[in-house]
Symmetry: C2
């Protein structure tokens, strides 16, 4: 890994300025100064003329992508187990796997595979669920930190409705979290940060969530969880927490819904008006996970409405509810789910456009990390370089067509180089 530098990349480029404004160049100079993007130009501006230029020919230069929701331990069974809906799927496949991460050696070997996969794909940043285990979670953070990818990782909290041997008591869960945060602090990670991670309301008592809310407030630590993914889950939450007007309130009342630290809620497939209003008010990030929502039969999230209301929306692979960490697949699936929603149930919700899904995969999720996900002046410089010559055609395609084709046909074979915060990873 090189140092964050000042340089210019020359090639075909695409990036978002907003969800509706996709900028593409057939041939352009993408400028990075001390790890910060300075814009994209047809000619190198005078003040950057001294920077070294990397000639990329016709390769595609895109902002690094952001996987806003992914479960590292579930990578072990990715691509299998899609015969069940959420709650049964957790019991049958997920908890039995996650329990294994008590063993640090198993965890290390399995996380190695996950981290390598993430490293080879289009993601430069990710927000990740680990397991309840402090040791394994810290090891995952070490492995990720070494890659140069920028990540948030969460030790998972759960104190009810989880199989014996994997469940924590409220006290254990909070103590372990404090211990974990202290160890994170001592490690002085360069690229990896902790994020508080109550699994979801069905597995977290109010006492646990109150405790986590206090930690979030005290240390300003961000939060991630799941919300309104599945109708059975929502019904369960109603029964467990009859005092809450809506599912999201079970987080909000504990300070875990964007009021203390930046917060990501994964899925939001079935969020009602009140919940949506509160997410908007609190600036909660929605991690839309289209393939997971198909695989686990959860439904089709109203992403058109979220985007039209100016809410914060990114994309998540949600491995292993999703089968792959690929953000190309996530963009394609986001279009597909929106088209199914449009065709089957909500003709008023027009399908997502290429510009919108690309925005969500880059700037939408990137905003959780700050000014990330674009080549506009002032953004942290994350980039992936694509060689798409293996996707054969006689056509001379323009950059926007090549970008669309990448969404539908590209995979990790096409990623030949990757930059994070101005450092070249490979």
């Amino acid at each position: 890994m090189s140092k964050a530098g000042s340089f210019v990349l020359h090639g075909a480029a695409a990036y978002s300025e907003s969800k509706d404004r996709l900028i593409t160049y057939e041939s352009a100079y993408v400028v990075c100064e001390d790890g910060i993007a300075r814009g994209v130009f047809r000619e190198i501006p005078e003040k950057f003329r001294e920077f070294p230029v990397t000639e990329l020919g016709e390769k595609l230069i895109l902002p690094g992508m952001v996987d806003l929701h992914v479960h590292a331990p579930q990578y072990a069974f990715h691509g299998t187990g899609f015969d069940l809906q959420l709650i049964d799927w957790l019991d049958r496949y997920t908890y039995p796997e996650e329990m294994k991460y008590k063993k640090k050696l198993y965890a290390e070997r399995s996380y190695d595979l996950f981290v390598e996969d993430l490293y080879c794909g289009a993601s430069t940043r990710a927000v990740i669920f680990a397991t309840r285990h402090v040791g394994a979670t810290v090891r995952l953070m070490e492995l990720l930190d070494e890659t140069g990818l920028v990540t948030y990782v969460g030790k998972v909290n759960m104190d009810r409705n989880v199989p014996e041997g994997y469940c924590e008591t409220t006290e254990e869960s909070l103590l372990a979290t404090e211990k974990w945060l202290a160890r994170c602090e001592a490690k002085e990670f360069q690229n990896t940060m902790p994020i508080l991670t109550p699994r979801f309301t069905p597995t977290c008592t109010r006492a646990l969530m109150d405790g986590l809310g206090k930690l979030s407030a005290e240390f300003g630590i961000p939060v991630q969880s799941h919300l309104s993914e599945n109708l059975g889950e929502i019904e369960w939450v109603k029964n467990l927490e009859p005092d809450s007007a809506y599912y999201g309130e079970t987080y909000d009342r504990c300070g875990l819904f964007g009021t203390n630290g930046k917060t990501i809620m994964a899925h939001c497939v079935h969020s009602g008006d009140e919940e949506v209003r509160k997410m908007k008010e609190n600036g909660v990030f929605i991690a839309h996970c289209p393939q997971s929502n198909m695989n686990l039969m959860s439904g089709a999230a109203p992403v058109r409405r979220y985007l039209d209301q100016g809410m914060r929306v990114g994309l998540g692979s949600d491995v292993a509810g999703g089968a792959e960490t690929s953000m190309f697949t996530a963009m394609k699936d986001a279009v597909h789910v929106s088209k199914m929603r449009f065709a089957l149930s909500h003709p008023e919700d027009t399908p997502l456009t290429l510009s919108e899904v690309f925005y969500m995969a880059t700037m939408g999720g990137g905003e959780f990390f700050g000014r990330v996900g674009s080549f506009m002046d002032g953004y942290e410089f994350d980039a992936v370089i694509l060689d798409d010559t293996n996707i054969a055609t006689l056509h001379r395609m323009n950059t926007e067509e090549r970008l669309e084709r990448a969404v539908y046909c590209a995979d990790d074979r096409n990623i030949v180089s990757k930059y994070v915060r101005g450092k070249k990873l490979y």
Copy 2:
């Protein structure tokens, strides 16, 4: 390419006996005698002991897959142009591309790319639309014939509602078809056969379809077309052919709906009861094209109902309505579309299972070619060999799990060997 032989493959194996009966072995001997499958065994039966055994270790041995609906010329823009619904998409992207195939050199170069892609994927058989052009269509057939893949290829017929320069007159279309059939006969193809291909009712007058129906009856040539894909298309057919009770009748009354030759109708997303009844009665094959139906916002075909009624259903990539020729993707998308249909609009139609989509990709489409798509005794021996070691996990997965994972995560990288009719292609 080797000769059709007698041999045994040893490895992990999976195949269908019926849509509900997926057979898997962790370690088995798959027997081919003179190009015909003789079954799968734990020990090599006495009478096959002399056959040479190829040791494939833990590799997966699957029946070759059948792409029941794909447009070869549209491969040129695969992965792009998914912003429009069917009729506008045809006008904007498809017809302008297909017109180019008047030039044989362009056709040859472009078809080369398509054929190579098909050769490298999991399909051992395909049923293919070409263009209206006899020369280019024959060249495509030559290229395909050389590969050893078994295919049907259709010169497309159209005599109305197609842009000038690409439309034929009724007489031209029928004469060109006869000329084409004569050339096919003279070529003495080993692996490639002609199929009559009225594009779809909006572009084919009754006179043209009557003429094609007579050709089908006279020479026993099979038929392929499109049916009830898109609501706008169906409305258009109603206006064009007010005498027909339903869309499918426009084919049936001309002898192009399974009564003269085997017939494939692609899509059948919105087929009504009468149409379904007639398809069942006539043994029409349905080519379900799930990704195309998502990309072009056509809807979600009622495949659960088709399968439950015992109708003939296979899978089509429908490139370039679908982005890829991958049959893994087609299986995955078929599950996804069925889950969206289940979750969003038809809770009574339970999602398709792994067993069902694998059946459709192999035996379902294979039936169009005869006894094809399984390793049961008497089936033509088509097989693909998968090395899935690049899909990393610490788990020791069984064959069914590996098959499911292949559906969600495999691509052409995983295909290391391919057999058609007992001949090894590579």
